[in-house]
Amino acid sequence: MVLNKNIFVIYFLVFLSFTSFAQKKKEVAIDSINSKKLDEVIVTATRTVRQLSSLPLPAQIVTKKDIKNSNSLRLSDILNEQTGLIIVQDHGQGIQMQGLASDYTLLLIDGVPLVGRTAGTLDLSRITVGNIKQIEIVKGASSSLYGSEALAGVINIITDNPKTGFRGDVDLRTGTFNTTNTSVTTNYKKGKMGVSAFVNRYSNDGYDLDKSDVLKTVDPYHNYTFNAKVNYDFSESTSLYISGRYYTENQKNVPTELLVGESNTNEWNSHIKLDHKYNEKWKGYLDLYATRFKTDGYLNNLDNSRFSESDYNQLLVRPELRIAYNANKRHSFIGGIGWTHETLDRTYFSNKPEFNAPYIYAQYDSDLTEKLNLIVGARFDKHSEYASQFSPKAALRYAFNDKIAVKGSVGYGYKAPVFRQLYLDFTNPTAGYSVIGYNRVITRLPELDAAGQILNILAPISEFNGALKPENSLSFNVGLQLQPVSTVKVEVNVFRNNIKDLIDTQVIARKTNGQNVFSYKNISSVYTQGLELNTTWIPINQLKISGGYQLLYAKDKDAEKAFEKGEVFTRNPETLKTFELGKEDYFGLFNRSRHMANVKVFYEIPKWKLNTNIRATYRSDYGLRDTNSNSYLDVFDEFVEGYTIVDFAVNKTFYKNYQIGFGADNLLDFKDAQNISNISGRLLYGKINIQF
């Protein structure tokens, strides 16, 4: 990719990301004090358009060009190649950021949240990248702006907006496992009105890593994404934006040789935004957002009788009003007030719970001096079902000169208890154990007791009188930005997240059938800390080489203490001799690699109208299971071996508007049938792209 090549292109990019905020034809206010050059802008970090390079927070952007040249299909593909991020399979393809599980990263689409974490993970393979303009990644707790879920950080998917004229784009890609992806975009914009429509179909036949059984690792599935947008400018100072998105997926489900079923996912998002500029200093934004996420599935026995059914139906409605005040070029404020209404109807819920949470936030962004930028902000969330949250954040950046800057930020993040943790009422029909949500214990446990099902109660019911606390964290980031010469950029960020009140299941009673009753409680505290390094080198205009690395330590504090106190043991499998483990034997949390790295080379050959790239991502050994049954991941456990995935792509343009490409994802055909179900092996593909 060629950066800063053409000032017009950059301006256009800036302009586009602004259309929803500001008026066209008007001067765009950019914080350009710290840098003389225009560069990439990001809206996620401050909820205002901010130049990425001057931001006091750790953040990165994935551009449309990189996504396109990489021939990525799903959001999970492209995020997995970013420094410090890794896709982990846990009831869906989730993202691990700064060592925190996927439950703790907030996913936004054009600034509003995606829902549908049926088991905690938000499945990123749900999201097509076909209409993505850029992906913004902000690391570090960001609840001061976004409330719940923004512990590790925020990923905001910015989708394309209508561009002037009538345009269209057809993109076809097909390859191994019958992986077929078709995207069609049409777009019309003239004067005050802009409309666009996007359709994507994705399908594949699934794959089978373990040929020894008749079951497939991933069953065949197909999905569709529809997205329509309307932009209308009432006047130079007032504009309206309407977006509707619909996603539907159908997947065959064959979990055992004796069961056959199907699962369906349906999701829609509707987003209406009204912007108004009162004058040069005051601007107002009104957001109305609603989304519904539904899954339903069934499993039948071989004789076609019903084995089980499950459904999940989550609704989120959120109106939000934001006011921005730019006192002058150096001081700006933004404040918002909103209300979240959420309901969930789900199998194994005895009632249909409802969340209501009004919130208010404010942020002050100031260039205190030419070299020093400060952002302070805070948000207050009042919640109907759990303790209210106050989430502050502060960030500073000091630029010594154009070449060296330091930045630091500290912020509070939290994740609200989910419906399941509060309201579940589930008894396993075959094994006989029960799981009761925290808020249901007070009524449900005495009922079970009265029914003679309880042998003894281990946790007194009085422990469930208060409210379950949200999981919360304090996050620290300290970074250094270097640009020794214009072609080289180096960024280092050291991070630490202290997370406490993590919600875990706990046995609260024993049943007469010998099984347990579980509920949820605030139990553990963990921390993640490490270092992230990002470098980009553009030796010549046609060549971009980038490298990234993350060092990570993610540990449970109680586990550390247990090792220190000598309470953890393992048994030599040969001699059966048990021995004590020391602090140095504790590895940390499951599914965390100590080292992750990536190297990417993007190369363009203008005279051939050709671009090509090779991307390699590495993750070091990690533990998935406690194989020696001491309940901790220690160095004597069996680890999943580290691996490298290499992707290769080449695209050539003909007659300006036609492009063909081919490539190989996972060129080296890496597979680990036993441990890694979401890596299918080598995917060869070809693609055609037509623009009109």
Binding site: P429, T430, A431, G432, L455, N456, R510, T512, N513, G514, Q515, E567, V568, F569, T570, R571, L576, T578, F579, E580, R625, D626, N628, S629, N630, S631
Partner: protein, 314 residues
Amino acid sequence: MKTIKILTLVALFIGFTSCSSNDDLPEAGNDTVSFEGSFSREFDVQGTTQRATYSVTLEKLTYDLAGGFAQSNYDIKKEYFSKDDNRWIGLRESNGTYYVIFFKNISETEVTLYKKEVASLEAGKTEAIPAADNTENHGWNTYKKDLPISGQIKNLHAPQAGGHGQPKSGEFTKFDFATGAITTSDTDWDIAFRGTKIILNGGVSSGTVDEPARNGDAGAYIASSTLDNITSVDKSLFVQDKAGGFAISGWYSYNSETHVITATPGKIIVVKTRDGKYAKVEVLSYYKDLDTSGDSRYYTFNYVYQANDGVTTF
């Protein structure tokens, strides 16, 4: 010969009583034994563990040999003891054999001894102290005071009916530490197994089906350590089975992915037996022949049993 021996004995006896009655200094050979207790050692003979124990009192010494290879048990009555060279001479009355036993390195926790058969009391007195590297008569051996009994039980079968939502039932498989064996006795058992449940002959029935009646005073607690590192019991921690709860729980880990039950390493079950002696147990496996792909409900465990009354150390 025998008459002479008896006469000598009588003479000695008279001499001893007269000495003590006269409060004179004891003659050589009439010293009071300065150490008492039960001293044992274990050794392997052709792959089987043998255990030899000397129980020393002021009047006699009892020798016990236990194990799969050879067994023996007899008293050696004290005839002579000199604290100068810790020489003990005694008579095994059951067959009239004299033994001289040399002790050295006598401490609170152990002794080292050399035992040799001799022709007579006099021969015992003149026997030279064997050199440290003398290997005749099994040589010099160190015996630990109150050495507990160590054992391993392989594949103790603990079947169970029911489960999966149904009440669990079936006979418990009972184990007796004193004999180191499975038993069907209604009274002489300490712990019993059924499925993953381990119950005690102490306390009251937890309420599950087919539990045997408790008639002993057994107790237990779980300690986090290795079997070797549990060197003494903490009497304050013992609990007994009670309605709705077992004293022994949390000894295993269940893997919901593989459905394998693993004896959690570092979980040592410390037991007070039905008659107030102490034992410690480390379960090694819940599967037949330690093969987790094989049949479950087969316990293999190591145990250490302190057979000496009132001794709380291992």
